[in-house]
Symmetry: C2
Subunit: 334 residues, 2 copies
DNA sequence: GTGAAAGCGCTAACAG
DNA sequence: CTGTTAGCGCTTTCAC
């Protein structure tokens, strides 16, 4: 392994000069710099990152926490983040916080500590269940960005205005003539699930068609609860289905679609289906889902930008929140 | 930050002793060990991994290369690998090698070098396009495991017997009474795509129903070529569709399904569809696809086991190949 | 069984 | 503008 010493020797200068030439070009004369660079080139020298880290405390690694990469919402986030970080030479450590990894129940916090121990430069948390960790994050002195809602604004975060987006969808379904609309919500312990619910219900109420509580089903955001919701729809309301259903997550919408298919209910002929969030995966699902939300990649890129602002000292103020615009995508399902 | 020095001071011993107590329990008397552990506990001491790495050359980091995490084949691999590595304290650096990250065309090799530079302990490559990198890997002195085929057996690898699995599917379709079967293959420059093709064709030939070349369509493994294949089917063979089609990847099968839906061709009524590989994502697609293959997670776990065998010195022999058994899953699409 | 001392490769005061 | 020097925190000979 070529070390800085070898380079110095070859260039006929001291290690310091090599270091300067590489890190503070201006502190060194052009000719010397040239010589050093040439030696670096010839020797194929690459600084040892461990040594750099030990010295500087920086690792050029960012930890990324997602609940479960197999939930198709997250790959787009992970990809956009890894790519954006990779472009500036940062590496991405991925943790699936929701998947028991032989570390007991509380592995989210464990992973966080593990990341800290590793001296990652920053953390991006794309897991709603982890919003409570902001205090721990702060304690550990980690700079981090949350993706999604963060009630108390205790740290930097990026997200969509859940209330407005769901409101928009409510509006849309009303425009389309729907009055009896089922609503498959997320778990009410998530504040962003409550926001979506509130926004959607407000839209219906504003249109004079307030939601019928018997048409509300609380799901888990995951596809099995889409199945459950479909069964519930057919069993409880089979003799007179609502004309539309809004699922607060794409996975629940997919589950809904699948189970309705199995129960011979046709979409959108027998019932229209709309979903919150917009996944490119959905482009291959039939019928194509009408959705409201933003592309997850936009969240990822924004999160990286915010994190870099902190890491590179461009921004030092109090926690910020960036709101990403949403879009309603009308397709064939509703 | 508590360092080893503080611990030594508190325990009233030297740094060396602390290090020994922590890393070579037997080189230290029980009482001293006890004292050291107590001090460690009280101070919440955690060794600095950068310092450890600088000294030992190990980082406890493994790099994982996938073409594109948004291809739903990979999340299961990534999850299983990250989980398996996490269980033994190894962290996972994820790279999407197929996605331009501002690093020109050849970023796969770039990423590899970047990983090496980072002194990762090992690399897992789950990208068929990267099999050619085995030489580079060896040059860089990296221990690595490939997931998927690796023609020349130059490095450790795990995979499925593509020929046999595809053969099995051919057999199955024949058993089901199909004789005119379309075949959407992968790109022929991938040897494993050729193996699948050969296996499938052999099965048909063995059954006395050799494949009709006009029913073969070479795709890209991705969903758009499933669309293309559907269009081709309808346009070229619309007046007398084959009774079944076998797609050499799940994504192509999904694309096929989607486009057939758009063109009002019903599966399996009008044509049966079968796919290579088994994704849990497919559980939510309707109609449910009949598949042959192994769960990607099995590959991930096996890869981690192989890598650890090398890393932990349990195995030092020549490159090994582990073949994971496949399974045919009969469902409603074929 | 325990400790002193060297050094992994690098950066940054501080002198010159 | 360039070099000397001192560590960053840890592990590991090598003495004792």
């Amino acid at each position: 392994m070529t070390t800085i010493g070898k380079v110095a020797q070859r260039a006929g200068v001291s290690q310091t000069t090599v270091s300067h030439a590489l890190n503070h070009a201006d502190r060194v004369s052009p000719e010397i710099r040239e010589r050093v660079l040439k030696a670096v080139e010839e020797l194929g020298y690459r600084p040892n990152p461990q040594a750099q880290s030990l010295r500087t405390g920086k690792t050029n690694i960012v930890a990324l926490m997602v609940p479960d990469i197999c939930n198709p919402y997250y790959p787009e986030i992970v990809l956009s983040i890894q790519t954006a970080l990779g472009e500036v030479g940062l590496d991405t450590l991925v943790y699936n916080t929701d998947v028991p990894g032989g570390r007991g129940a509380n592995h989210a916090a464990d992973y966080l500590r593990q990341a800290r121990r590793k001296r990652v430069d920053g953390v991006i948390i794309a897991d709603a269940a982890l919003f409570g960790l902001h205090a721990e994050l702060k304690d550990l002195g980690l700079t981090g960005v949350f993706i999604g809602g963060l009630d108390n604004g205790a740290m930097d975060s990026v997200g969509v205005d859940n209330f407005q987006a769901a409101y928009r969808m409510g509006q849309y379904l009303i425009e389309k003539g729907h009055r009896r609309i089922a609503h498959v919500t997320g778990p009410s312990h998530f504040s962003f699930a409550r926001e979506r619910k509130a926004g959607f219900e407000k839209a219906l109420a504003d249109a004079g068609a307030p939601v019928d509580p018997s048409l509300v089903f609380e799901g888990s955001f995951l596809s099995p609860s889409g199945h459950d919701a479909a069964n519930w729809l057919v069993e409880k309301h089979g003799n007179s289905l609502p004309t539309a259903a809004f699922a607060a997550s794409p996975l629940m919408a997919i589950g809904l679609l699948a189970q309705l298919y199995d129960r011979k209910v046709q979409v959108p002929r027998d019932i229209s289906i709309a979903a919150y969030d917009r996944l490119s995966l959905l482009d291959d699902i039939r019928p194509r889902l009408t959705t409201v939300g933003c592309a997850p990649a936009a969240l990822g890129r924004a999160a990286v930008a915010m994190l870099r602002d902190r890491l590179e000292g461009r921004f030092k103020g109090p926690p910020r929140r960036e709101v990403i615009p949403f879009e309603l995508l009308e397709r064939e399902s509703a």
